[in-house]
Amino acid sequence: MLMTGDLGFGVIESFARAYPKRFINAGVAEQNMTGVATGLALSGKIVFTYSIANFPTLRCLEQIRNGPCYHRANVKVVAVGGGLIYGALGMSHHATEDLAVMRALPNITIMAPGDPAETIAATEALAKMDGPAYLRLGRAGDPRVHEHPVALSIGKALMLRAGNDLTLISTGGMLATTSKVADQLQREGIGSRLLSMPTVKPLDVDAVLAAASDTGLVITIEEHSIVGGLGSAVAEVMAEHPTEGARLKRIGLPSAFVSRAGSRDYLAAKYGLSVEAIVEDVKRIRRA
């Protein structure tokens, strides 16, 4: 079943028309939507809840914690607009701490697919998986990075490029940018292993440790606060499994509110998440 918090104009209608008995607009009431989804799931349904930015997550965080997470109920929370996608709409619509907050909850699986191909595969995987999940999406029209449909397993990284000088690990909508970073580094003679990490929890520990051991320098790139997201998850793994010669650099948004309007690309560049800024960052780190 699909429940929406009264959002999804232009994208949700086709499902609602095709499957009227499996579609519910819960109204602008995310706490109740999450509770109803829990009750439906405890009665045997598979329920996706849908809204934008922080509304399906932080607004009803305790409902997610005590409901789907504690009961291991089959509720998949979907947010569109992860990161600064809704940049111009202002701080309320910037989902920049969601991965950190959701990652702290027990029992939940968290996916932030990197492009439309990964989104399709992640959605199918989550629908088949039993238990609660959070699916963090960008927006319709995000650039495609994978040329072909991807085979994706929950909890496994995808290697898009091999390289020995460093590893770039990207999650969510930063994949296209990170792929361009890898291209530019290649042109400058720096070979990078590119990992897309569509599952933030459970993290692919083996892929992180292999990257640390094979390439030394590991760089995480995410459109999320530097606190608590992919970078923190990778740091936890690397700190507890020290590998000689391995280093980590986390690239993400500062732990701060963005108070100026601006497109996603404008704001991303302002906070150092443009291709050029990341390339410079990487070269500086390598020199250090």
């Binding site: 519910i24 009431a29 706490q31 439906l40 305790e62 409902q63 005590n66």
Partner: protein, 273 residues
């Protein structure tokens, strides 16, 4: 209702009260007053209304019961044990180290508990989802709220939703004992006219004396009473009901009976069993 049935339900309610007193005393725990106030509600639900099977607790067509006022869990554990969902002597572990009977309603490994509660305002939305599923599967859902809990906005989100979707298989019972955590409901955040609020959200709303087993039985065995509407039973109750020195006393939201108080409480309740 026959005299025998009435006596059975009244006696069951008193047994639950005695268990609540003994469990909270042993545990040195709180929330005895709000447990005593809903004893008849639980007795009528589990004695007469709910279509459940203690030896087959996950039977798919069972009626669902959600105690949203999860702090009053002692009464729910007691009635489940009384009905045979798990052994009565396990009630002695309530609140204890390693016990599955935690101090707010906990579903993990506890037969008969549909879902965990404890943070107020969570139970009714979940019950509403169950009712939505139950409409097709053919079961009913009953949910008990506290009065203080009606301060939580999520309940009113669910009330709008259930009214809009005409969930006639959903029944809320508000244990309206008029005392919440730091004072009377009138002092803290006024709810009256409470049943009119539910009615205005599209519910069939009735008021009953929540200690009158016949009145409770009448409204609860009749649901769904109003086609296309969920039912709200505003049950007027007395906090601490059944123990003279606990009745209407805010103190017994917190205090755990011990010593002479425990003996007096047991004596008062025991007289009526």
């Amino acid at each position: 209702m026959t005299t025998t049935v009435k006596e059975e339900l009244t006696t069951l309610a008193q047994r639950l009260r005695l268990q609540i007193i003994q469990m909270t005393s042993r545990a040195k725990s709180s929330h005895v007053g709000g447990g005593l106030s809903m004893a008849e509600i639980l007795a009528v639900l589990y004695g007469r209304v709910l279509n459940v099977r203690p030896h087959d607790p996950f039977w798919p067509c069972r009626d669902r019961f959600v105690l949203s006022k999860g702090h009053a869990c002692a009464g729910l554990y007691a009635v489940l044990a009384d009905r045979g969902f798990f052994p009565l002597d396990e009630l002695e572990t309530f609140y204890g180290d390693g016990s599955r009977l935690a101090g707010h309603v906990t579903h993990v490994d506890v037969p008969g508990i549909e879902c965990s509660t404890g943070s107020l305002g969570h139970g009714l939305p979940i019950a509403t989802g169950m009712a939505l599923a139950g409409r097709d599967l053919g079961f009913r859902v009953f949910c008990v709220l506290s009065d203080g809990e009606c301060d939580e906005g999520s309940n009113w989100e669910a009330a709008l939703f259930a009214g809009h979707h005409r969930l006639a298989n959903l029944t809320v019972i508000v244990d309206y004992n008029k005392i919440q955590s730091l004072g009377t409901v009138d002092e803290v955040l006024r709810l009256d006219p409470l049943h009119e609020k539910w009615a205005s959200f599209g519910w069939h709303a009735v008021e009953v004396d929540g200690h009158d087993v016949e009145a409770l039985d009448r409204v609860l065995t009749e649901v769904p009473d109003s086609p296309g509407k969920p039912t709200c039973v505003v049950a007027h109750t007395v906090k601490g009901k059944g123990v003279s020195f606990m009745e209407h006393q805010l103190l017994w939201h917190y205090r755990s009976p011990a010593g002479d108080e425990l003996r007096r409480a047991i004596a008062e309740l025991g007289e009526r069993i």
